[in-house]
Symmetry: C2
Subunit: 739 residues, 2 copies
């Protein structure tokens, strides 16, 4: 086996004496933690530690550089042992769960060790320390690598108990890395390609904040983003999108390790993946380094990282050729080690092969002792930074306040007053234009507000007029130009928002093209990343572009997705209301479906109404007993209102309800719901230029849902509305049939 | 302006005398048209011509090569005039509609002209002639280019009247190319990147069929696939996925023109797209040629095509540098010409600039006359091929019959008998495994059945055991290896199925990853491409991989999508039933959601039942009056059946309904629906391990829908079912509360 011979080689390579790295150092706990709104669902122990510190004014005695150096002075035997510890934590946890992916951790243990033990700067006792280096395991199935590293590094989120509960109900070590379950995990990965795109977002955030806040005498923002991605991530289109942008933007502090192991689930990558990855990344504007022996060439890995750091104007891809399942005598370098437990026999054989006499999930004392320094060193790093920040704050109080707001996620008091409001006399406009007024108003008051469009800025109306473009030479600016890369855009925004609680990215395309980025949007929802999705051209109302561009089923598809708010505002007040909630909900992404066509400012709409999800905008009935309730969303609320006018002229008692956000309405009290949709009133008509799927819940079995259950067509918008029966007359006819 | 000077250059370049291309040739109509199942929604005139011919046994007098040559002998002035005709047809049609994208047609008119007039082999009077060259406008917004070319070439689908109705209701010239509206359009494009991926599918189909059916003495399958794609397509991840595969497969007859005009909607591509595209494509295994003057360098374009054809083992990218809006003195080379009418003034200025004295939408007589030869030549090409096929049929009757079935889409009689059936005594199995039995059974009897997985063949269970892998060296095989490229996979399958009515591709991944490929799936639905989507691991039942891998809202999202069948079979008979419909519905794609976990063969399930979409599998009531109706799908039908057993023990009259495909149930008569779900019975409980969104329609406002409206979790499947309340007990409790 290649694995055993390369193992011998590794021993030979590292047979030199290096002196031990001291760990007897004073602890300094963080003064300023930035924990406010990024904690996991369950309160974690690290979170509880976030109070005022004991050493607020103590300057740290340990300098960050002590940890950063990659010219390690650690004894080779400890390195080897630590790497094997990582391997066996993965092997044993997967074996115990009888489920999981041991192959990647076994192959990537060397780079993982070097990153977490020798290179990265972090504070294990405060996983949310702002200036930490970020690490993303884009090949998320190999999560035991990361759990093992967090465990060794001293994170409280991954105790021995947690390793024993790998992939079990309620554990903090789920089957793929989940930021909302495990402090220390930056982003949620597993769906391939997402992680590297998240990494681009994290690196973008660092670059932007550094450009905005660093001073010649204080680099207050200064950290790296490291990613490990595999062959699967490389094949996914999203990674090419995001990496093309990373190259364009010149994100020099993004360093990605490509675990080049030649094996994917279907076998050797020869069967489907024979492109020249190095050359592709060069074409994308990356610096590319090849580490030929990723199994045991530790110094090669160290040198590559050093070189990568020296290249400041380009992201770096370090292609690390490894053996999947390294150390397993019978399964290494094969698909069988990718996604299943090794089996007891092979675990035993691997123990023998790697000379590992320990019990399952055991961390040898010398390894434990070696890693123990990260707790004091991490605390020192943070304390050091806190002291630096205190100085910065004195010199640059304004910038410090802004940066602090971005770090903590605290919004400036009264920010929401910046949102525009409208009266029925205000000029009518497309909600995409009204959205731009909101975006610009928000960017004026919310320091971490930034975003852009996938090459549709002038159609989505997303430009921030007071800022320029975020570009290689102007990273302090806030207009992001994503190009036609919807999927990458969504995942990059996930990275941005998960970088710091106060970074609030929005991104935009036509609503129908959420289909291109849905996987990233679902991860926003799952990973509690409050990205704002500005989705214009939200129905057949876009007209001539035709059915390829006209969303039909998209509203439904997001209403059914957990933890995402689907807004369809009808006018200016409702657009402002949607933004008010979207900005304040930092753990829930929002989708705003906006019109291309001009709409009137309707009487009765309000920001407060939007906060309820569904509310009455007009009513001429009494005693909560209208003859009929007309329910609309977005551009069709106007049609409902017009139909109501006509019906009222005929003496009917008609209520018009805006159903702008189903999810928020569902959260209201039964009494409120009853006040809007009284159960006694079964005469209900809904109108929405989209699929009627699901509207039975609102209109009831006797009501009528007007919508479009086929694809649209290419023609002027007005005619389409008529041809598809989305008209005042249709509402009136339906209402009369029910009264 | 660059445009005017380059115009002068073009005149200079082409100032040489070339003799006119003759067009007085005998017409021979097709003997064998292959039209059976590919017509557009409305019967087209070309379709009506598909009957028996007048010249069945006449050998053609014109050889195909006469049209194929790119050493054109056409007079330069006619070429120039033809190219300007294309430009002005686009300019004028967009101006008349006051909507559309003139910029691309103005820049790409030269390559368009050369392709349709000098290079491509087609029969305008039979757009479905099997051995035609395929053309895909991946940058679909430039559709007026293609409409102009189809018009000039003599396609009956684009008459002058149709150009006048560009982007109008009911026209055959919608805002983006739609194969189902306009004969001559191969695939539906507009959403960027889809077209180039479709092109890979078309070229794959050609290569596969050529490998299977060509004989040393008869190249019966022999045509090219040409694609024009723009900067937008290049930025989309899907294009990188598909092009990586095209390079891997060595699809030498795929020739893509990259309209390198440096402008996208947001302005100069410098703001977001600075990668080295040539280098990237070389890395992907393509042959790359750069045509530096795409505006007027006609011979450069011709030479590039010649070179591309000579490279047989690699696809070719011809980067053609053009000026968007070429000829417009004030708008060329700017975003403003991309997506709006030029405006009357600028139309006038462009007329002057290009020396175009004609009325709007006028085709000058000499241009008309020049293009008129394509009607007889196209007929001759087809007749030639038909004669060749007749010979082939004599020599190779078996192969000819198979190829004919692929061309016409006619399924062998009794094919459905190959599908396995099961009794309750048959061993239980995961529906993904039962699916593999169906796939292998179908591949034995359906000659055009082929497909594969996005690197999950051994998890999706999609390998055809009697075939090898479709690879560069073995293109006659039928297992497609897509790598981890879901989006590209979907779009490639759209291309395969739209290549020939009898090609029936299936493709596979985990159900949750439909999110990666949804845009391609929507185009399957819209463009009537009957792709079969084999989607396994369809719920929390997949267990430990956790919420990133567990679909929740996905069933809903497809039930709401027009023209796609969402199946969730419960066992072997239902899986076979789903395949029976999926294979027979050639104009509607099907999605099969299949379990990872083992399921029993249930009494009462049947293929016939599946054909109804919803049906009773067991009932102990009489008079269509059960006490309660339990409704399940897929893996939860077993739970409903078990709950019914328990309730019946307590003396209840319980009906169990399988609701395997909502769309098919919706198509049934009211009487049938009433027989399954009698309106008098409001006690209804549904159970499905997915979002309950939309189930109100089935269970009614008094019924109860059991499901999961949050994300899942990482744990063993059995425990997840318990924790999320998807249990027999929950069904019993809900039923009792309703009875």
């Amino acid at each position: 086996m290649a694995s055993t011979s390369s193992l011998a080689l590794s021993q030979a390579l590292l047979a030199r004496a290096l002196s031990h790295h001291g760990s007897d150092q004073r602890v300094s706990l963080p003064a300023f933690s930035g924990l406010k709104s990024t904690g996991p669902r369950a309160a974690s122990s690290s979170r509880r530690r976030a109070g005022p510190t004991r050493h607020r004014d103590t300057r740290p005695v340990i300098r960050a550089a002590a940890v950063e150096t990659i010219d390690t002075t650690t004894e080779a035997s400890v390195v080897e042992k630590s790497i094997n510890t990582i391997r066996f934590l993965a092997i044993d946890a997967v074996q115990k769960a009888n489920s999981g992916h041991p192959g990647l951790p076994m192959g990537c243990a060397p780079m993982g060790h070097i990153l977490y033990d020798e290179v990265m700067r972090y504070n294990p006792k405060n996983p949310y320390w702002f200036n930490r280096d970020r690490f993303v395991l884009s090949a998320g199935h190999g999560c035991m690598l990361q759990y093992a590293l967090l465990h060794l590094a001293g994170y409280d989120s991954v105790k021995e108990e947690d390793l024993k509960n790998f992939r079990q109900w309620g554990s903090r070590t789920p089957g793929h890395p989940e930021n909302f379950e495990t402090p220390g995990i930056e982003v949620t990965t597993g769906p391939l390609g997402q992680g590297i795109a998240n990494g681009v977002g994290l690196a973008l955030a660092e670059r932007h904040l550094a450009a905005r806040f660093n001073k010649p005498d204080s680099e207050i923002v200064d950290h790296y983003t490291y990613v490990i991605l595999g062959d699967g991530c490389q094949m996914e289109g999203i990674s090419n999108e995001a990496c093309s942008l990373a190259g364009h933007w010149g994100l020099g502090k993004l360093i990605a390790f490509y675990d080049d192991n030649h094996i994917s689930i279907d076998g050797d990558t020869e069967i489907a993946f024979t492109e020249n990855v190095d050359q592709r990344f060069e074409a994308l504007g990356w610096h590319v380094i090849w580490v030929k022996n990723g199994n045991t060439g530790y110094d090669e890995i160290r040198a590559a990282i050093k070189e990568a750091k020296a290249v400041k104007d380009k992201p770096t891809l370090i292609k690390v050729t490894t053996t999947i399942g390294f150390g397993s005598p019978n399964k290494a370098n094969s698909y069988s080690v990718h996604g299943s437990a090794l089996g007891e026999k092979e675990v035993e054989a691997t123990r023998k092969n790697l000379g590992w006499p320990y019990e399952p999930l055991h961390v040898p004392d010398d390894v434990k002792s070696h890693w123990s320094r990260h707790t004091p060193e991490g605390a020192a790093l943070e304390a050091d930074w806190n002291a630096k920040f205190a100085e910065y704050e004195k010199k640059y109080p304004e910038e410090a306040a802004e940066l602090k707001a971005i770090i903590t996620g605290e919004l400036p008091s009264g920010w929401e007053k910046a949102l525009p409001t409208y009266t029925p006399e205000s000029p009518g406009d497309a909600t995409r234009n009204l959205s731009q007024q909101c975006l610009n108003a928000l960017a004026n008051v919310v320091p971490g507000f930034l975003g852009g469009s996938a090459d549709l800025a002038s159609s989505n109306m997303t430009l921030l007029k007071m800022f320029g473009d975020f570009q290689k030479g102007t990273p302090e600016e806030r207009n992001l130009r994503f190009g036609v890369r919807e999927h990458g855009m969504g995942a990059i925004c996930n990275g941005i928002t998960l970088h710091s609680p106060g970074l609030i990215p929005y991104c935009a395309t036509f609503f129908v093209f959420t289909d291109y980025m849905r996987a990233a949007m679902r991860i926003s929802a799952l990973s509690e990343a409050g990205v704002i999705y500005v989705m214009t051209h939200d129905s057949i109302g876009l007209g001539e572009d035709g059915p390829t561009h006209q969303p039909v089923e998209h509203l439904v598809s997001f209403r059914a997705m957990p933890n995402i708010l689907m807004f369809r505002p009808a006018d200016g007040n409702e657009t402002a209301g949607a933004y008010k909630i979207a900005v304040s909900k930092r753990k829930t992404p929002s989708v705003l479906a906006l019109s291309r066509q001009k709409l009137p400012q309707l009487p009765g709409t309000s920001i407060e109404g939007v906060e309820k999800g569904g509310y009455t905008i007009s009513d001429n009935s009494s005693g909560n007993k209208p003859d009929v309730i007309l329910i609309g969303t977005g551009s069709e609320l106007e049609i409902a209102a017009k139909a109501a006018e006509e019906l009222r002229k005929e003496g009917k008692a008609v209520r018009v309800v805006s159903f702008v956000c189903w999810e928020l309405f569902a959260e209201q009290s039964d009494a409120y719901k009853e006040s809007v949709l009284p159960s006694d009133v079964s005469a209900r008509v809904s109108i929405e230029a989209g699929s009627t799927f699901g509207w039975e819940k609102v209109v009831g079995s006797k009501g009528k849902a007007i919508g479009i259950d086929s694809f649209g067509a290419s023609a002027p918008a007005g005619l389409l509305y008529k041809e598809f029966g989305i008209t005042v007359d249709a509402v009136i006819a339906a209402a009369k049939a029910l009264i």
